[in-house]
């Protein structure tokens, strides 16, 4: 047993980290957050050129054929810098859905384009408030194609295609929809994290191709969510570490009553708690990375554990980072807000804490 990333993976981490520090400072995040640009196109182009979008795609489909461990390394680094790019939608969700459930034809068509970054994918499940899988599915596929509305689709306004859950008769399936085709209207919406773009997608007779098995829509969503959960968790771990660093740096600099606030136990123990939660999330994410990379039967439990830990750590770290900053922390001019916004966005995107706590227990009961 060996519970560490390999030297090559750690070298990738260093390269990725150095690249992102140079190309994705907090001012880059601020630019996207305050502008109408949905994402940083220049940064995305460079990410594509480095092959990150191709990481886990097999070579036969134009990918690099690396393991998911490399993708976890990249995810952590992207999380650290709160990157304003559609990586999670396109890589963790859409690419995975095509990889796992696509027909040979679908894989042969989409994966090479995803790998080379010439298309961006997104994943559309929600139609109303609450847990998508337990709400009624209003989007439906009939003779005229797919109709209905998906809401809060991350990167829905810029993606080229979407993986959409929709009903056909009594059963719900996943469909692949070309968003540049007819019968698709995109309505950009304001969100709590404008450094990532969202749209409501209104379909009226859009062309839709079945992805995977008819009637298996929500089961497939669950499988893709399990896989994505590990990668989201690594982004959350990366973000938590940034929040801890910011909080620590500020606490060392800021004086009150003649000494740095970092010397008061209220701050010391707060930062220790961020460290503890971040370390637990990281260690659980190691296990998730292993389970994902080996397609282990433990993946559902490992994914849920990493996800719950990631949500909790990132929320706590970013909220308490602001708290450590005091008044400055909640001003628009400081950077604390980017992490706090992203923490919430990542927490909601593929199902919230409560949903994943329940999944964790279900997996634990299965394992028992």
């Amino acid at each position: 047993m060996n519970f560490e990333f390999s030297d090559e993976q750690n070298m990738l981490r260093e390269q990725a980290g150095a690249f992102l520090r140079d190309n994705c400072s907090m001012s880059v995040v601020r630019n996207i957050l305050t502008s109408d640009e949905p994402f940083d196109r220049g940064l995305w182009q460079k990410i594509v050129e480095m092959g990150w979008t191709a990481t886990a795609i097999p070579e036969q489909y134009g990918g690099l054929g690396l393991s998911y461990l490399e993708l976890c390394v990249i995810a952590e680094e992207l999380g650290r810098v709160v990157a304003p790019v559609p990586f999670s939608s396109s890589v963790y969700l859409a690419t995975e859905a095509v990889l796992v459930y696509g027909s040979e034809e679908q894989k042969g068509k989409w994966l090479p384009m995803l790998a080379e970054g010439s298309v961006i994918g997104c994943f559309a499940t929600a139609e109303q408030a609450g847990h998508a899988a337990s709400n009624k599915t209003g989007c439906s596929v009939g003779a005229n194609g797919l109709s209905g509305t998906k809401i809060a689709v991350v990167d829905g306004d810029l993606a080229d295609f979407a993986i959409v859950t929709a009903s056909e008769g009594d059963s719900v399936s996943q469909y692949l929809v070309d968003l540049n085709g007819s019968g698709v209207e995109r309505q950009t919406v304001d969100t709590i994290d404008p450094s990532r773009s969202h749209a409501n997608l209104v379909f009226s007779g859009a062309d839709a191709t079945l992805l995977g098995n008819a009637g298996a829509g929500w089961d497939q969503v669950a499988v893709i969510h399990d896989r994505a959960a590990v990668l989201f968790a690594w982004e959350q771990v990366g973000g938590s570490k940034t929040a801890l660093d910011m909080a620590k740096d500020y606490a060392m600099e800021r004086y009150a009553f003649g000494r740095p606030i970092a010397g008061y136990q209220a701050i010391k123990h707060k930062l220790a708690n961020i460290y503890v939660k971040t370390t637990l999330a990281e260690s659980n994410s190691y296990y998730g990375a292993w389970a994902l990379s080996t397609n282990a039967p433990e993946l559902p439990l490992a994914a849920a554990t990493a996800r719950v830990a990631g949500i909790q750590a990132y929320h706590f770290a970013t909220a308490e980072n602001i708290q450590t900053h005091g008044g400055m922390g909640f001003t628009w001019e400081f950077d604390c807000q980017f992490l706090y916004r992203r923490a919430k966005l990542l927490a909601m995107t593929i199902g919230g804490e409560l949903t994943w706590q329940k999944k964790l227990v279900a997996a634990l009961r299965t394992a028992a």
């Binding site: 847990h131 060392m252 008061y264 708290q323 604390c336 909601m348 919230g352």
Partner: protein, 407 residues
């Protein structure tokens, strides 16, 4: 112990209720007004009828009313959609400080206009380098004949942009330990050299300001308390800050248990209303315990005040409990909304974006007016009598206190 009104209270409540029913402006009376104009319009109407600042002496624009009467008025007014927040600082903090420290002549001049809403006041205490260490302020005032010349910067000043007057603490002697070198003034916010800049918060709001002072002249007659006595005067202001009763937060614009019950009854979780879920119930119950507990702490405090007791530091628990709770509530509500929770839009979001705003405003709530950590310290030191933190700045001339790693 009786939760119900006494006969006299019930009579007073009926009087208030009747008057409000007849006099709260219809929406069309407000037509074309800015929020500030609306607030002033309504305040003036209350003042003219003797319903402003009820507890103040009549000669200063009040009604000489009891605490309970003030609370009853507040409760009844809260049933109408009228927004008096703009006067909170002036009525809650500046007015009582003036009554305690200004001359009768000054009070007869200023208080009625505070009460009527004609003049808005703000509080100029916090500074960038101060934060939790309020008394570490650096804005200086130097005596020049009958005036003082003020230079420096204040921060976190609510409502400075539309204030006519402000209360101000400044350093008049930097060579003595920090609490001893302060003096307290009120000033005309239109004085030359006063510049107000709004601070944008992460919630998008800009309720706070920075206020810069460049050679601002303040007449010595506007000093409250002796030179060097500024900290004692400031304590009067801060004590009144605590006197605000309640903490229940029943307004429609606030995340509270009532709103959460509505949400949880509505949102689907695993095929049922979320409120059927055990985890949702446990959270809601814990929050209700806090929300109700704070409400009753307020009632007890009111009972004590109506007996003549001064509200003590135990009221610090309101903010310490409520602020982190609001953050938890919003965080949890958004989680429950899942994907839809990301959308922050008056039209599209659940409850018009209440929970998104709650999430983004909550960090400020845990900091403004004293951080969670300072509030816990206040309870530990002033309620429980535990020792102060070790103060490395104690007894040291203000100029010699370290303020950064390099100092």
């Amino acid at each position: 112990m009786d939760f119900n009104d006494t006969a006299a209270e019930a009579e007073f409540r009926a009087e208030v209720s009747t008057w409000l029913e007849a006099n709260v402006p219809a929406e069309k009376e407000f037509a074309g007004m800015t929020p500030l104009e609306r607030a002033k319009f309504w305040q003036k109407r209350k003042y003219d009828a003797g319903w402003a600042c009820l507890r103040w002496p009549k000669e200063f624009g009040g009604r000489d009313a009891s605490v309970v009467e003030q609370v009853i008025f507040n409760e009844e007014e809260a049933k109408h959609d009228v927004e008096p927040a703009v006067f909170a600082i002036g009525h809650g903090m500046c007015g009582p400080t003036m009554i305690a420290w200004a001359t009768d002549e000054q009070n007869r001049r200023y208080m009625p206009k505070i009460a009527s809403g004609e003049e808005v006041w703000c509080q100029l205490f916090s500074e960038p380098a101060g934060g939790s260490d309020l008394a570490a302020l650096r804005t200086s005032a130097v005596r020049d004949g009958d005036d003082w010349i003020v230079n420096g910067q204040k921060i976190w000043t609510s409502g400075a942009q539309h204030s006519d007057y402000g209360i101000l603490v400044v350093r008049t002697d930097p060579t003595v330990p920090k609490h001893q070198g302060l003096s307290y003034f009120f000033l005309d916010m239109k004085s030359p050299g006063v510049e107000v800049k709004p601070i944008k918060q992460i919630s998008g709001d800009a309720g706070f300001n920075e206020v810069y002072f460049t050679d601002v002249r303040i007449p010595d007659a506007q000093r409250l308390g002796a030179v060097g006595q500024g900290w004692q005067v400031a304590l009067t202001t801060l004590m009144n800050e605590r006197a605000s009763i309640g903490g229940g937060g029943s307004g429609r614009g606030i995340v509270n248990c009532t709103r959460l019950v509505e949400l949880f009854e509505k949102v689907n979780l695993d095929g049922s209303a979320a409120i059927e879920d055990g985890a949702v119930q446990a959270k809601l119950a814990d929050w209700y315990v806090k929300e109700a507990g704070l409400k009753f702490v307020g009632y007890r405090s009111m009972s004590a005040m109506s007996r003549g007791d001064v509200p003590g530091p135990e009221n610090s628990i309101g903010k310490l409990v409520a602020a982190p709770m609001r953050q938890e509530m919003s965080t949890f509500a958004l989680d429950l909304l899942e994907g839809a929770g990301a959308i922050w839009d008056k039209e599209l979001s659940e409850a018009a974006g209440l929970y998104q705003m709650g999430y983004m405003a909550a960090p400020g709530g845990r900091i403004a007016g004293g951080t969670d950590e300072i509030m816990a310290n206040i309870i530990a030191e002033r309620v429980l009598g535990l020792p102060q933190d070790v103060r490395l700045d104690k007894g040291i001339p203000f100029t010699e206190v370290p303020t950064s790693a390099s100092s």
